[in-house]
């Protein structure tokens, strides 16, 4: 079954199996988008994922095939993620410290996990990046979408996406290149203290 067939089957006959197929096919994408929005994975992101699935089950009939399904899903997921962040009312604090507290708590989506230094490095950079920068980097570098596709997903001009991407890349590269060693040192010193 293609995505379109699943959507039609679910909307017409409320076929739960079709919905399950659709979700299992795109669940990884949903989680990655939320990972980008939250800058990590924790119980709030998991709650947001549930909200996304609920919203998907109730709003799927509104999908008119005017845009691609990933675009529809991306917008839904990102909006729900941002709603969740707003509802926490601790957005800045969470985004600022995300990851650093998650070092050994197994909050990554990866089953293998990273070693401690890499984890600190990664989440320090993710914490320094803005939500939009993380999302763009994720869509471009991890999901492999083109700038035009990202522009469509975000409902933003391609030029804006490009400049944001360049800014995010420069920022991430600078943090990864220079700041990381200092951050790691500071982190280790604070742990020792």
């Amino acid at each position: 079954m293609t995505d379109s067939e699943c959507i039609v089957a679910y909307c017409d006959t409320e076929d739960d199996e079709a919905f399950k197929i659709l979700v299992s096919r795109h669940r990884s994408f949903i989680r990655k988008v939320l990972f980008g929005v939250f800058g990590g994975w924790d119980e709030h992101a998991e709650e947001a994922e549930q909200e996304v699935l609920i919203a998907l089950s109730t709003t799927l009939h509104r999908f008119r095939f005017e845009s691609s399904f990933p675009t529809f899903l991306y917008r839904l997921t990102r909006n729900k993620g941002i709603d969740q962040l707003r509802s926490l009312q601790k957005r800045r604090r969470i985004l600022g410290t995300v990851g650093l507290n998650r070092g050994g708590e197994g909050h990554s989506l990866s089953p293998q996990g990273l070693d401690e230094d890499d984890r600190i490095l990664l989440y320090t950079i993710l914490g320094k990046l803005r939500e939009i920068e993380r999302s763009i980097l994720l869509l471009k570098e991890i999901e492999g979408f083109t700038i035009e596709q990202i522009a469509e997903m975000m409902n933003t001009p391609a030029g804006t996406v490009k400049s944001r991407l360049h800014r995010a890349r420069t920022k991430a590269a600078r943090l990864a290149e220079g700041g990381c060693h200092e951050m790691q040192t500071v982190e280790k010193n604070s742990k020792r203290a």
């Binding site: 299992s24 990655k32 980008g36 989506l109 990664l122 570098e141 991890i142 492999g144």
Partner: protein
């Protein structure tokens, strides 16, 4: 980012078609750009590794059909609204009844003042008024003692 070639490197990264020989030649000669690019690639590798979820794909899809939290919030809000509406209605009804009673009382008093001249008769001393006041309520001859 002092090297101006970083923009060119970014453009190549945007295209997704890999590093061209020209940029590669620059990377071979520019340690700054090379180090920066390697650091960036390392970050992306970590990001990808952390965001990937191969084992989660096999999990059974569980969709909470009803959002219990949201339903509970809606139910609580509805209950509070109903209670508030009932309270306001009762209060308004009571106020209305009081208003009606007050209005009726005021109308009675006004009627009596206009037609029966109640207060002016009570406070007055002229026989004609006293007579008028008692006339409707007494069936016997009255004497004021002033004849």
């Amino acid at each position: 980012m002092k090297c101006r070639q970083w923009k060119r490197i970014q453009k190549e990264l945007d295209s997704g078609s890999g590093i061209s020989p020209r940029v590669q030649a620059h990377l071979d000669t520019c340690p700054d750009c090379r180090q920066r690019l390697n650091a960036y690639k390392h970050f992306i590798r970590l990001f990808r590794s952390e965001a990937e979820e191969p084992q989660l794909l096999n999990r059974e899809v569980q969709v909470r059909r009803g959002s219990t939290r949201r339903l509970r919030l809606i139910a609580a809000a509805a209950l509070i609204s109903v209670c508030a509406a009932v309270s306001v209605t009762l209060l308004a009804a009571r106020t209305y009844n009081d208003t009606v009673l007050r209005k009726e009382y005021a109308e009675d008093i006004s009627r009596e003042i206009i037609h029966g001249s109640l207060f002016s008769e009570v406070n007055g001393y002229l026989p004609v008024y006293e007579g008028t006041w008692f006339e409707s309520d007494t069936a016997f001859e009255l004497s004021t003692g002033r004849e």
